[in-house]
Symmetry: C2
Subunit: 335 residues, 2 copies
């Protein structure tokens, strides 16, 4: 049901029942002057109430939910975002990324951000060794960024993060302060769209499973593993912000990622550094090699695609009538 | 969609899209050995994903949601439950109470618990003065508890709580430790089902609006006021747990309660203490008087009603087929 587009009449909020509470909550919320927020809230309240009605949710279950969400909130710190982890493990993060960052064929697909991105990494030059872990298997990474016409894109800010050889991000180290980032770098692409750096071969790891989300996975009989991967984030004015990751083929968790992030187009086979490359990049011959060409969409193309896909999807859901797109997001049209 | 009742085949979790992520998340969650939890999770994930699809939720909005929920969690303390407040202000609390505590006609209706119940109140005798606030308007409360056949119910534990004359609960006082409960009492009904106590006339108050839920109401253009009321909770083995409240007729917020709790059957007109009552109960003649007869349902009757209403409601929603009731809650039947 849509909130009324006629002037809001504040409802009489009394004797609310299982059958009429939803429309009444939506009517009082419809005083909100922001049409988009009003629509989002109307859908949120309706789905939350329908969830309770369809499950006949008990007071005890409701309280368990309240306590679970409270524990999730309490687990959040500057370096751990348990709500993102919850969203990741319930597939919401991947879904939202897919909706908000539609990709034309051949553009690099996005995937989950995860809870471990920080702003601590310092800008590095090409060739930067992003990992100080001596136990890691050295990995030379030679990458390039192009637009959808295969033209190199220079000056892209590239944010990279990976775990150490034990599967821990720096923020998970005891006493981590942010002053000593490791397994992270921020690079810029050169005139040819190239960026290259030295890293270590990613390993599978468990998402933090000592908190409420870990307990949830356990109760659900799900494992907490993510397949080996390295995160990348690309930013440049005029291009759609790309959050993605590359996954290693053949990983034991390739088809059971706890956060649903793996896409075939993002799976790579590692190569081997040739003697020529060894000299050029100052690494040992025979080392592991990762090469990948990332393809960015322009903001304009993304916005066009986003609008088209929004309309198409909402038509399919039967909820497009009476809607319009404002600032790239669907809202009920005002009469 | 129902989770399959055939043995779970773990899905290949790769290349998940807007259109197939929901069924895949539900399939991996279907490993859960608890049939009820599996059903609740399946409905939760489906509604959460449908919400994102119907709104075409943006990454920025998703992040605003993550930050909002995190702030709600951070606001929770031993004496403040911001998630309950969120549930209250979105109508979920009243809905869940209505589902879980169905009432036959003439039984006392339930309403929201709210975030201010504590376990600090000490057992008091009849006549107990629950409020130490000298600025409050004295109120003599003469109440009785019966079953649905109007027989008195003795030995019911009655938990009562109200604000002071400024609209604050004791837990909201600076430095509140729990050692000095005020505006609270726990009484027992006598052989006649009677309990009586001295209180103060309730006043309207604002739900705590200095946190994220307060900000939400502000953004939505909603006021944070609750009409004057006094909370009651009734417990006795064999009877359905009753959480309710009495509201004063004519309150300025009678029809716009921020948490949707007002029901006509719970609105009272205050009376005046007669000279006889003044002597009997040792209060000033002409004082304000509250009288109310609470009617409890038995657990057995409630369970019967709950099951009947669950089946009826789910039939109406078209989701009853293939369901059964286990421990009073609907779950998909196993083949």
């Amino acid at each position: 049901m849509r909130p009324p587009s006629t002037p809001i009449e504040v409802p009489i909020l009394k004797d609310l029942t299982i059958d009429n509470i939803t429309e009444n909550v939506n009517r009082i919320n419809a005083q909100c002057p922001d049409a988009r927020l009003k629509y989002v809230l109307e859908r949120l309240v309706t789905h939350m109430h329908d969830f309770a009605r369809e499950t006949r949710l008990s007071t005890q279950e409701w309280m368990a939910g309240i306590e679970f969400l409270t524990a999730v909130g309490k687990q959040c710190t500057d370096v751990r975002q348990e709500f993102i982890l919850l969203s990741d493990t319930l597939g919401l993060s991947l879904l939202v990324d897919s909706i908000d960052h539609p990709k034309a064929p051949f553009s690099t697909e996005g995937t989950v951000l995860g809870p471990y991105h920080t702003h601590d990494a310092l800008p590095g030059a090409h060739g930067h060794a992003i990992s100080a872990d001596p136990s890691g298997t050295p990995l030379l990474c030679l990458c390039r960024v192009t637009d959808s016409s295969q033209r190199p894109v220079p000056d892209v800010k590239v944010d990279i993060w990976e775990t150490d050889s034990k599967g821990s991000y720096d923020v998970q180290y005891e006493g981590y302060s942010g002053d000593n980032p490791d397994g992270r770098a921020v690079l810029k692409t050169d005139a040819e769209g190239v960026f290259w750096f030295k890293a270590i071969v990613p390993v599978p790891y468990r998402i933090p499973n000592d908190g409420p989300v870990g307990k949830m996975l356990e109760v659900l009989g799900r494992h907490p593993w993510r397949p080996s991967h390295m995160h990348f984030m690309f930013e440049k004015g005029g291009f759609d912000h790309l959050i993605t990751a590359l996954y290693l083929r053949g990983d034991p968790y390739e088809t059971s990622d706890a956060v649903f992030g793996v896409k075939e187009s993002l799976i790579v086979d590692l190569g081997t550094v040739t003697s020529e490359q060894a000299k050029e990049y100052d690494v040992a011959e025979g080392s592991k090699l990762l090469t990948y060409d990332f393809v960015l969409e322009t903001e304009a193309d993304t916005q066009k695609l986003r609008n088209e896909q929004a309309q198409k999807a909402m038509e399919k859901l039967g909820i497009w009538e009476g809607m319009t797109i404002i600032n790239g997001l669907p809202v009920p049209a005002v009469d």
